[in-house]
Amino acid sequence: MNELVVASATTQREGARPLDAVSFADVKYSWPGPSPFTLTIETFELRRGEKLLLLGPSGSGKSTFLSLLAGIVVPDQGRIDIAGTDMAKLSGAARDRFRVDHFGIIFQMFNLLPYASLIDNVLLPLRFSKTRRDNALREGSLDIVAKRMLLALGLDETVIATSKASSLSVGQQQRVAAARALIGAPEIIVADEPTSALDRNTEGAFLKLLFTQSEEVDASVIMVSHDESLEEHFDRVVRLTDIAVSQRGVLS
């Protein structure tokens, strides 16, 4: 099993703490069902404050990897530590709480509740996470904090005040999603191809804004994509095929 770390020139930032945000050790997981799919990851680390791009073609096990990372599924073998906690040891509901405490998640698209206001969309995780609510409250009232975050991500004031999520462009929606992922300063931002629906210019601008804000709260960012041209934006690039073995069919 080969572990390959492609480190870019600007890897270790000075502020990064030694503790790993994420660490996988000898993880093995099989999807149950008629067409089993097994993913094995010997070791994987995400350092605190690191911006990591995980490259992988579709079908290479990205979804399974993300499910393991976010604690949606629990490995059959091995151990996954998130900020020093073994998620497998937590109960289902506790994992849900743990997830919202430590992760901000951005989907490929359709991230928002279409009928809710932008502010409500951004504040959503704070309703489930006391830690993040307390973090946000330290900076002011929740509405103000949410608004400030949206402004920082480049949405203008009239849009924030008057729009429903459904009336936004895709680029604007992804910014709101980023604001939601970042609010309350979770340690890890997981982005699942968040820019795939954006054009090049918007993509660059989006990533720049995302990173500015993630650095502000010292969050690690792990972004999954199949687009190698994104490499320049990240501290480190990892190919899923280099860290993981995926196998169709039952494992012998």
């Binding site: 509901a93 849900d96 989907f107 359709f110 509740l113 009928y115 409500d120």
Partner: protein, 419 residues
């Protein structure tokens, strides 16, 4: 609080389907409560067809038969009561008043009742209400008639019109008392009882139109003119039935027994309330059927709601994945959907109840006037409250069905669903 707000916003986002669902439930609740109201209204109207009368006396027969022909003008008497028996009963010390009734003739299918003017003051209906005249007044002349509201309306009669009474009770009669026409002296206000469909004349008039008849047919060559008959003794030989009021209700059983044991001829005395209950027991099966049908309509509406929630579930997988990604547990998702079912049902029940009362308030005067059915506008009774609450609870549990499915989906999808 925000979660509740989001649930509401989510519903508002699907307001057309949600509204239709609420309307369907509201309609079913209206039907359920409405049937209940009509049921009780009908039962009360029915029980109130006659009140204030302690005993009905007729020739020996079953109590239902006597009630049917004397009060509801259905069917015929088996036999008559002689005038002497009538006078004997009238002279009993316990008897406060007695009104004779003589049936057997008709006018265009409406029964003709021979009685005296006491009838108008003693016959009570609907909690002791008395008859009132819409126009004109009680009969003064021998050939005066007082007609019920339906008779006047259907035949277009007004005070002063001449009418001819036919022998027998069919709607088409070949034997008429054409030689002795009556004048409409009064029209009664609508009562919602068989009175509306009755032509009232005096007992003497009944005697007068039959004076030259024998064995149910006019005797040829022996016709007596209307003017001649006024000079004759018109004391009736027999009547069909009599309504009796007692001085004290305590004496009811005693008087009833004495009449039933009357030696001169076989008589029956019945208590109208008891006979009415007996009769309602026969009709009552229909009301049970109505209740069952309306309960089934409610079940159908709830099924519709479940279908609605289930069909929107797929579109909402994304919504649930978002909620899951921000920390909502599958249990929260379950709760949200179950709450949605409960909420929709609650809205439907409230709307239906309000709608029913609004409808009752609007339609009550019309229904009362047209059908003589007085529908009470009173707050839901305990058993009705129980029904309403049960519907909401059932709605909540019906909502659990799609919720459980959503729960399973959301466990399987996690938050990585790509749609």
């Amino acid at each position: 609080m925000m979660i509740v707000r989001l649930a509401l916003q989510s519903l508002l986002n699907r307001w057309v389907t949600a509204l239709l669902t609420v309307l369907a439930i509201a309609m079913s609740v209206m039907l359920l409560l409405g049937v209940e109201k009509v049921r009780t209204g009908a039962r009360e109207s029915f029980a109130d067809t006659i009140s204030g009368t302690d005993l009905i006396v007729g020739a020996r027969s079953g109590s239902l038969n006597l009630l049917l022909y004397s009060v509801f003008r259905i069917g015929n008497a088996t036999n008559n009561v002689t005038w002497k028996s009538y006078q004997d009963i009238a002279s009993m010390p316990e008897v406060s008043w007695i009104v004779p009734m003589s049936l057997g003739d008709s006018h265009h299918g409406f029964r003709v009742l021979g009685t005296n003017t006491d009838y108008f003051s003693h016959y009570k209906f609907r909690h002791g209400q008395s008859m009132t005249f819409a126009s004109g007044g009680p009969f003064k002349d021998l050939f005066d008639a007082v007609i019920g509201a339906d008779v006047a309306e259907q035949l277009g009669y007004k005070v002063g019109d001449k009418i001819v009474v036919a022998h027998g009770v069919g709607s088409i009669s070949f034997v008429e008392h054409a030689d002795k026409p009556f004048r409409v002296s009064g029209i009664l206000a609508k009562t919602g009882t068989p009175i509306d469909r009755t032509v009232h004349v005096s007992l003497e008039a009944i005697e007068a139109i039959h004076i030259d008849w024998q064995n149910g047919a006019p005797v040829p060559g022996e016709s007596i003119s209307a003017d001649q008959v006024r000079q004759m003794n018109l004391t009736p030989r027999a009547i069909t039935a009599a309504l009796v009021g007692l001085k004290s209700k305590l004496a009811t059983f005693k008087v009833q027994r004495r009449i039933n044991d009357y030696q001169e001829e076989p008589l029956s005395a019945i208590m109208p309330g008891v006979a009415l209950q007996e009769l309602w027991g026969l009709v009552g099966t229909a009301e049970t059927a109505l209740s069952v049908v309306s309960a089934m309509v409610v079940a159908t509406a709830l099924l519709g709601m479940v279908t609605m929630i289930l069909t929107t579930l797929n579109e909402r997988r994304r919504e649930m994945a978002i909620l899951r990604s921000v920390g909502a547990t599958p249990a929260t998702v379950l709760g949200l959907l179950a709450a949605e079912g409960g909420l929709l049902t609650l809205a439907g029940v409230v709307l239906g109840t309000v709608g029913l009362y609004a409808g009752l308030w609007l339609a009550q005067p019309y229904i009362d006037h047209t059908y003589g059915l007085s529908l009470a506008i009173d707050p839901p009774r305990p058993d009705e409250w129980l029904k309403l609450v049960s519907i909401v609870v059932a709605g909540f549990f019906a909502g659990l069905l799609p919720a459980l499915r959503a729960y399973r989906l959301s466990l399987a999808d996690g938050m990585m669903v790509r749609i």
